[in-house]
């Protein structure tokens, strides 16, 4: 094998490709710029540009009678935003988002924990697909399904009636604030549907976070005398928190922006998304819609900032 020792000259890679490659090797920053340029142009110019356009619109105002936009800068629209009726909407939406987030965590945690810690082999796949399929199956179909389920003549009502618990459902629906004529026109209905459609968004990040917790940490806690409940409180929960926060970015953001669910299920009371949609579409009040849109942007801005500090982005 002395043949290995002889050294034929390296084949010359001439031609424009080779020369360009050489040039890029000598100037890595150019390569970086080539890679980053298109996506940055798209996201930075198209997307951020649009966001700023929207922001700018919120400083316009609208002629109340003709509905035409007056393009002189003013804070009048923000004054309007602070009307009690609108503050109600904001408060109602944030409260709903918070409730939905809390409920999603409660339901998601066991699923995520089981999937991360115990599911092996085939079960792992079952859990994975069992979470992914609802996540990706049509959003409208899901909302629609719930309309069928929650209608007064729908399945839940039928279920309660057929086991003779109709009175229980009615008693629940009679509770002011959360009840209503039927589940589909009660805040509870809206809440249920929100929890349902956003739940997978909560499960996945929690599962990802839990999968990053080495099993030895749980054992170490037990080894140091912690009961399972103490282990959960002192080790698992704090370590899953970034995942929870990452998930809540979704549940929060999606609830803040949704306008279809409250339109189809609920009491007709507006949520931010619906208000934005209607001010924009139905009422043509784009400045007010824009001002309304600033609210979730601000809320999510703060949220993202906190989430980033908690390291939730790695769990996204």
């Amino acid at each position: 094998m002395t043949a290995l020792a002889e050294t034929p000259p390296r084949p010359a890679r001439e031609g424009p490709g080779g020369r360009l490659s050489d040039a890029l090797w000598r100037r890595p920053r150019v390569l970086l710029a080539l890679l980053l340029g298109p996506p940055l142009l798209w996201l930075g110019v198209v997307y951020l540009g649009s966001l700023f356009a929207l922001l700018a619109q919120s400083f316009f105002s609208i002629d109340e009678f003709s509905g035409r936009i007056d393009r002189t800068l003013t804070l009048r629209t923000y004054g309007e935003l602070l009307r009690p009726a609108n503050l109600d909407i904001i408060w109602r939406t944030v409260a709903m988002a918070a409730a939905v987030t809390v409920a999603s965590v409660a339901i998601a945690f066991p699923i995520a924990y089981y999937a991360a810690r115990y599911a092996r082999g085939r079960w792992k796949a079952v859990f994975y697909l069992g979470i992914m399929l609802p996540l990706w199956s049509s959003y409208l179909v899901k909302v629609y399904a719930w309309k069928l389920i929650l209608a007064k003549e729908g399945i839940v009502g039928w279920g309660f009636e057929s086991v003779g618990l109709g009175w229980l459902l009615n008693a629940f629906l009679a509770v002011p604030g959360i009840g209503g004529n039927s589940l589909s026109v009660s805040p509870t209905g809206t809440f249920l549907v929100f929890v349902y459609v956003w739940l997978p968004f909560m499960i996945l990040p929690i599962q990802a976070a839990l999968e990053r917790v080495p099993p030895s940490l749980v054992e170490a806690a037990g080894d140091l005398g912690a009961t399972p409940a103490q282990t959960f409180r002192t080790v698992l929960w704090p370590l899953a928190l970034p995942g929870v926060v990452a998930g809540s970015i979704f549940t929060f953001s999606l609830t803040l922006g949704d306008y279809i669910i409250p339109q189809i299920i609920g009491t007709s009371a507006r949520f931010i998304g619906l208000a934005v949609y209607q001010y924009q579409g139905t009422a043509g009040n784009i400045p007010l819609a824009a001002a309304f849109a600033v609210v979730p942007i601000l809320i999510m801005g703060v949220y993202l900032y906190v989430a980033r500090r908690m390291g939730a982005f790695d769990a996204l």
Partner: protein, 337 residues
Amino acid sequence: MNPAVSFRGVSRHFGEVRAVDGVDLDIAEGEFFAMLGPSGSGKTTCLRLIAGFETPTAGDIRLFGESVAGLPPYRRAVNTVFQDYALFPHLSVVDNVAYGLMIAGVPKAERRRRAEEALAMMALPGYGSRRPSELSGGQRQRVALARALVNRPRVLLLDEPLGALDLKLREQMQDELKALQRKVGITFVFVTHDQGEALSMADRVAVFNEGRIQQVGTPAEVYGRPRTRFVADFVGSSNVLPPALTALFGGPPKWASLRPEALRLRPPEGAPIIGTVQGARYLGASTRLVVDLGTGPAPEDRADIAVLLPGGEPVPQPGARVGLTWEPAALHVMGAA
């Protein structure tokens, strides 16, 4: 006195896999006990059985004479130093150390004091407010030790605690661990697959293979008088001689072990055994020579044997003919196969 840990016919099978298979073992109180064996031989599983993370599929485990069947880990007076340390990343160093005390309900000031004390003992004063991620490997290891010791366990389990450290740090930590065990006087059960580590630290060593114990004894016993070929081969880099070669070296026609350092070179003339130097490996303090005692050039006739030349002795060139002498006492004939 009851032994600190005692196994009677303990097995742990995972389906087909016999991770631990009928182990009998007694570890005395205050002993520094090492479990040595290749990867997958069941050492970790043994440790986890003691700690309570696994339940035996057969047999009985006792701690200080009392059966621990059905006792969850958090009810055993045993603490573990995990291979990856398993420090809680969300807690500061001092909170990590104080974790067990917190669980036990020790008041805040008291547990802080004791945690600081334990850190000081581990030569880590002032590191309390750091996060584990801000520590080097050796420092983490000491925190894990402090976290286990602060609970004053009666048995401390250590699963390859030095595996992740580099050589220098590892030697230093070996010395520290040994000194620590002398100081606190509690039973250490130490798992490793590094025979050097086991020999230099332990009072007694158990050599594992495929879920079974091959030999239990002092380091010198295990090194010098291996009971099986496996032990001879695994503990130290011994020459394991087949019966024919044993006979050549003057023993009975049985398997035997012969340590390379027990062999000496001499001129071939009149030497009882003559061979050809195959290669040399400079080790600094010594040189390891491979000598072929074979009778012909065919591969099946080759019988390589390793000889350790102390530093300073001249190293013969490959191909040179050399004679060998040895201390007859060093030829250890093995009872078992």
